[in-house]
Symmetry: D2
Subunit: 254 residues, 4 copies
């Protein structure tokens, strides 16, 4: 069953960022290996021609583009950035980031609610990057967010999913898709996110700054598939005692 | 780079058991989906015709067979079972299980050392199912074990890898391949095992007793690949602070 | 060094609730054993004479009382409750709870900010029960909260500290005291909270519903002391290799 | 209920080592603060007069002494050391350490079984330092060990209890007292060990090399008491949903 966000279907449940790659060729090769269905990019970087026009054309022809408002710390700044992105990339989709702290780059929940309300009203398809707070996620969905993107742990930290309890609860009750965003360090983190019930995983640093980004992209592609399949295959319960898989009935000679 | 045990190359790093499946067709479909390169079976069950001769022929034509001594609690019993297996399956490979406790089905380390010595002397290719004790693993390799198979947690428990520290240390120093055996509950456990440095993962209950064994087999195939690739792609370090993936240099209008 | 909140010194870093005890005598005995310096109570329960006037007099003569707004889901309701509490208990201290979800009883961060602002303006000493979001905690302190009370995990869940990373970060940067509130299940959770840097621990269910509340209160008293001392004694670093505590220099006979 | 090992009662469940202290006075002060009922010492160090005779007299007059065979790697060496200790300290108690690996200082399970059998036969009261393998612990008790001392994690590592599952199982089934030995890093680790069911905790590095050993000793004294009381007070179950401690019946004005 394909993932659907705001009436758009996505064949892959891996979303990838485009920052911090050693060079443009590695980025393109990693995207080939990871097979994402959506890629994010900081609109501020685009405006500086960090990516040439031709790269944008290439990406836009293969993937759905999701500009983000990385670096914004006020609602006004984020809204302005979203408008710039809409113009530049001809998309109304926006990943809303409003940062409250330079150390953790955690979102400011209060401003995020205001920014989401404002951008939804202005016709955007809003995917807010938020904390793992189930109440916040519900309120964002109530305001019209197309998906919620709770963090696993701080951006770029590689600490994985700091609070699986919260992520699982958010997934269990969210009326919109849940995309785990930030904190993934390695493949098992991505698998685990999907097992907790996430609809997709968005990651950047774990691939871009791996020793071999292309191989890590392939690992993440498989990891997301594995977690999604495992979730839907229905895992065995945890037991505190062993349970023989080779029954001991009918021993030799008995 | 292919896995090699006792001079035999294995294309896949997933090993699967054959017990506890709802029926024979599901077993065969799960094997198709999981694409293991080796399958285990309890020789005691074979002797009871739980598997018909035709099933054995089918399995033997596609996979390397690894009979095990499940249910044995003495060296004598295990050696006898290994000899029966060699005769019945025409293989000198044996997964040595000597159980010390009915609750945990944990191996008896002392007897395992004796049994390994005896079976190696008798010309077997011995893969002992052992605890996650690095000293024991080293001694088993010294005695001539072709691989070591430390447990993640009790057989059939689905508790995953109870002591990652020990598994990582075993992998770091083992002169023979390390196959994580027992305890896997879901895909992320298998991915994690590979990330810790295991050469392969052997599992049975997590697939056979999943709600949908065929889909779980596919998940495990991808999970093992993901973990192996992630291990060799070189993950990012863990950081306690965030690190922006979208640099904040050159903000809009600046 | 004593804990100080809003210019009041507290000899003990254990704060206790008063709900859910088997009976009033067990509550009093548990308070004797736990030696808290502050006790909380739901003002709504008081209004129902769940505690007789004489109990309130007893508690008030021994401990600082902290009425809470448990059960409130709106700012208006919480402010009304705080005013009732001020009148009934003759204290301007209030633990502000504004719940956003009946399943988790998690606070609503947005309403909490509004409620804190309003109550601070009205002259209350406000201790908000909040999520473990460092940004929220900083904003509450900026609004004039006398302390912040982040949750470990859901009220009454006994799941302990779900996200130690966040709690440690909140403690590292908070300009006001941090009181871990909710989720504690057993003594080691309380010790751990203090080791992460919390200034105090508030708990209720873990004591009141233990099999032996009085003994658990004593355990918690010692646990909080142990964690505070360990924090300030400066623990050894974690090492991945062993380090002999008994040096091997000068072996016998050498 | 006091702890009893080999018919000797112990008032305190904290056992302390004597190595690695900054100086002798700090050692004595830490012992005063920790209030252990038993102290261990490496017999090899004693033989070198690392501790003067007067220190030994002081310790021996206040605590039960438990010499250990730290640094031994063979049964013969360990037995010889135990005999030296018996002569020098006039005690038949011995903590048996036979190390199998210089990196982890993990015990060699096979040699430990042999050494225990030999020393029990020679009339010693044997407390073997062992891995967290339930089968090994049972076999040691069967051979006559007076207690078993499974490791939490490598000596001096401060990693805490790497495998709580195994420690809990050992405690649940051991016919002799279980003393958690090695790996403790801070107070909550000691509390947790007792909550898992351990009868006592033995530690050295976590106190001796803390920034303030005397304060850490006091923390450990309280931590062990807290864990023991919490264990016996009967903790609340873990729940995945919140449970209000302040009932919402009878709201104000309702």
């Amino acid at each position: 069953m394909a993932l659907t966000i705001a009436d758009i279907s996505f064949a892959s449940r891996l979303f990838m960022g485009t920052a911090s790659y050693p060079n443009q060729q590695v980025l393109l090769d990693a995207l080939d290996a990871g097979e994402p269905s959506l890629v994010t990019m900081a609109i501020r970087r685009i405006s500086l021609d960090a990516y040439g026009g031709s790269l944008l054309d290439t990406l836009g022809s293969r993937y759905r583009l999701l500009p983000n408002t990385a670096g914004c710390a006020t609602v006004r700044d984020a809204v302005l950035t979203a408008e710039l992105a809409r113009e530049a990339l001809e998309t109304g989709w926006i990943k809303l980031e409003i940062i409250g702290d330079r150390e953790t780059l955690y979102p400011d929940a209060e401003l995020l609610l205001q920014g989401t309300a404002e951008l939804v009203k202005a016709g955007f398809t809003v995917l807010p990057y938020c904390t793992d707070d189930p109440i916040l996620c519900r309120k964002l969905a109530d305001l019209g967010a197309a998906a919620v993107m709770p963090l696993g742990s701080p951006i770029g930290s590689g600490l994985g999913i700091a609070n699986p309890y919260n992520i699982e609860r958010i997934c269990a009750q969210s009326p919109v898709p849940v995309v785990l965003d930030a904190g993934i360090g390695t493949a098992s983190d991505a698998t685990f996110a999907m097992e907790l019930g996430c609809d997709a995983v968005l990651l950047n640093t774990a691939i871009a700054r791996a020793h071999d980004p292309v191989r890590m992209a392939r690992a993440m592609r498989d990891a997301v598939r594995a977690g999604y399949d495992a979730r839907h295959a229905g895992r065995i319960p945890r037991r505190l005692r062993a349970e023989a898989s080779s029954p001991e009935l009918g021993l030799v000679g008995a």
